[in-house]
Amino acid sequence: MSDSSVAEHTEHADRPELRHHFADEQQQRNAAALGMWWFLGTEIMFFGGMFCAYLIYRLKYFPEFAAASRSLDLKVGTLNTAVLICSSLTVAQAVRAAQMGKRMLQVKLLLATLFFGLVFLGVKAYEWENKYKEHHIPTFDFNAKDLMRDNQHLFGLDKLQNDPHALQVREAEIQQHSQIFFALYFALTGMHAIHMIVGVGVFSVITWMAWKGRFTPEYHTPLEIAGLYWHFVDIVWIYLFPLLYLIDRRPGA
């Protein structure tokens, strides 16, 4: 750490939050915010690589993707989206509370954020556990039998009933291609969950800082920056929800 160098450079001694190399707080805040925005740009491309793979395989193996998507629990997915939106609201309100200098309100809102974040992760864990029970985790005894059972028509399996060999082969294919969906599902939701876990860790620190009264209407940059990250993770989920859960939910299809 640069404590020694800060001590050496005493011109900001009266402003403890201001680091030595910045001229004023405004410059420091702007630098941090810009840094976070660029980092979020990086994150877009990080998920972008997976979105690219997703797009191509979705075009290539649409029936399997549609069927696998239907096997995800829509109610739980919708609910979880709502939970994440709640957490975004509490973050936005916490920033507001900091801007107005209300310490306890900040802390409560941040605790609520942590709560919603953990609920989201809990629900995600529950969904993954179900995937495990359904044998929908790639390579862990992966089995797409239930997908075939529920989507006879979509896969054209109904037309193959009197040809056991054809059935068998088509089934092997469905097994493979739906596994690609689930590979991408776990890659995408897993990367998202890792981001959530990091977010919860960061917000624990932020909550502690808020509790200690570190944030004032003049200085609450860490909260603001962490908030940007949290909202971004929320936005990723806003896209993952339709891309994973809503590929094809039409009743007739």
């Binding site: 810009l34 877009i44 797009l55 919708t78 709502a82 936005i235």
Partner: protein, 98 residues
């Protein structure tokens, strides 16, 4: 020095955004069950983009920031993502056809 605090978003606006987001979430889940042909995906993505936009504009305060760079960075990154997807498709779209 009011610059330091930035713009304070009214509480009511935050709540309004919240309700729109929740409503849109249920809306998109419901619309997905109606047969719109190929437009199901389009509608789902349009709704997602609207939701993402208001999060960016209000919650992330991009609407209020005096900083031009924020928008530029955002547009930059999105443009790059589209380049990746679009140019990969120049290969795949014409490969599937053949």
């Amino acid at each position: 020095m009011s610059e330091h605090t930035g713009h304070i978003v009214p509480s009511r606006l935050n709540w309004l955004v919240f309700f729109i987001l929740i409503a849109a979430t249920f809306l998109t889940a419901w619309i997905a069950t109606i047969d719109l042909g190929p437009f199901n995906t389009v509608v789902a993505l349009v709704i997602a983009t609207c939701k993402a936009s208001i999060v960016v504009l209000i919650f992330m305060q991009v609407k209020y920031t005096s900083e031009k760079m924020t928008k530029a960075v955002l547009l930059f990154a999105i443009a790059w993502l589209i380049l990746l997807l679009f140019l990969s498709l120049t290969d795949y779209s014409s490969r599937f056809a053949g």
